[in-house]
């Protein structure tokens, strides 16, 4: 009959239309840098296996100004990613103790403690 439901198109820039979608897209983008950094570390391992010269070249590239800038960028994004992820953990992993929910702050806090502990172990192993 006279029905003619109107379907609105999703625009390409839909994620610019609300701050929470922008924040979400940034979080998605950060994972790209975290991934890239992981890939570079893997390449570093390959270089190490290829011998001294290869490894030195890799380290030199990493220590060059663009390399340092890139690592800083990765660090910032990795922190952003971790912090936003930790903030969401009470949702993904809620705990009940004696029928009462464990406060979200405790769950988030536990993640930071674990992060600090793992980082300390890694730094000690690296001999810093």
């Amino acid at each position: 009959m006279s029905r003619r439901p109107y379907v609105r198109k999703i625009e390409r820039n839909w994620w610019l239309q609300h701050p929470r979608y922008v924040a979400y897209m940034i979080r998605e983008l950060t994972s790209l840098f975290v991934g890239l950094y992981c890939a570079l570390l893997a390449i570093g391992l390959v270089r190490l296996a290829q011998g001294h010269a290869a490894w030195d070249g890799f380290v030199a590239a990493f220590s060059s100004p663009p390399g340092v800038v890139f690592q800083w960028l990765c660090l910032v994004f990795a922190i952003y990613h971790s912090v936003t992820w930790f903030a969401l953990t009470p949702k993904a992993m809620p705990l009940m103790v004696k029928g009462e929910p464990v406060p979200g702050k405790l769950i988030v806090g536990a993640h930071y403690v674990a992060w600090a502990a793992v980082s300390a172990v890694v730094l000690m192993a690296a001999g810093v």
Binding site: S2, R3, R4, P5, Y6, V7, R8, I10, W14, W15, Q17, H18, R20, Y21, Y24, E28, L88, P90, K91, A92, M93, P94, M96, K98, G99, E100, P101
Partner: protein, 247 residues
């Protein structure tokens, strides 16, 4: 002259309009009015052709979801006083076809809701004569939050994944499946998994979190979905290690 406030309402009448357009209405400003009161004022006094859904006016029937200044909201729970001095833009909820004016087509949601088998599938059937299934307050507490959904579909309007993939089962339906999965009386998790743990189910969710931000009843569907992901992964792993032992 007493104070007024302007509403910009998206109109779409399929019999005369080729596409939606905004129409402005000026209504009296009242401190204790919600947007729905303003719409009712328009309907009763200015323009009887405006169509929208509503009933309870107390944020429990779930009829009156609308996009209000770019935010999915219940219009019966959104006060004019929070927009004083500005213009209030009222549109139908995103990600649904517009039937007319502020009325959306709900068919897809209704199908998705029934698709997750949202009813109790008892672990053990027992006759009424044996009395109630015992359930401690703590056991009730585990899923109680997920029983609060009023099917207002604000979460579908907020979720970009719903907009990008119309087959995504979506937040409210997945949260409801989780509600039954968590119920100590229920044993239907396996029966629901086909839909819930499918590509169009939980794995379509990228944890934007918008569903939980807009939920007027603090159901937190995002949490439900992430928990389901973890539990489905554990089930998958168990199944891999001991094939056929589960479900």
């Amino acid at each position: 002259m007493s104070e007024t406030i302007t509403l910009e309402v998206l109109r779409y009448r399929p019999e005369t309009d080729s596409e939606p357009h905004f129409q402005r209405y000026t209504v009296p400003y009242r401190d204790d009015w919600v947007v729905l009161d303003a719409l009712n004022h328009i309907k009763d006094n200015l323009d009887a052709t405006l169509s929208y859904r509503w009933s309870c006016h107390m944020a429990v029937c779930g009829s009156c979801g609308m996009t209000i200044n770019n935010e999915p909201k219940l219009s019966c729970h959104t006060f004019l006083r929070d927009y004083r001095g500005g213009v209030i833009r009222v549109e139908p909820l995103d990600h649904f076809p517009i039937e007319r004016d502020l009325v959306i087509v709900m068919d897809s949601f209704m199908e998705k809701l029934s698709g997750v088998k949202p009813w109790l599938i008892p672990k053990q059937e027992k006759p009424l004569s044996d009395g109630e299934y015992l359930q401690s307050p703590a056991e009730l507490n585990v899923f109680h939050q997920y029983t609060q959904c009023i099917n207002c579909v604000l979460c579908y309007a907020a979720c970009p994944q719903v907009g990008l993939n119309e087959d995504f089962v979506g937040p409210a339906a997945l949260a409801l499946a989780h509600r039954y999965n968590l119920d100590s009386r229920d044993g239907g998790k396996g029966a629901r998994a086909d839909v819930v743990a499918s590509n169009e189910g939980i794995w379509e969710c990228t944890f934007v979190g918008a569903c939980s931000q807009v939920c007027p009843k603090q159901v937190d569907p995002a949490a439900a979905i992430q928990q389901t992901k973890i539990s489905a992964s554990v089930d998958w792993l168990k199944d891999l290690l001991t094939p056929g032992a589960h479900r």
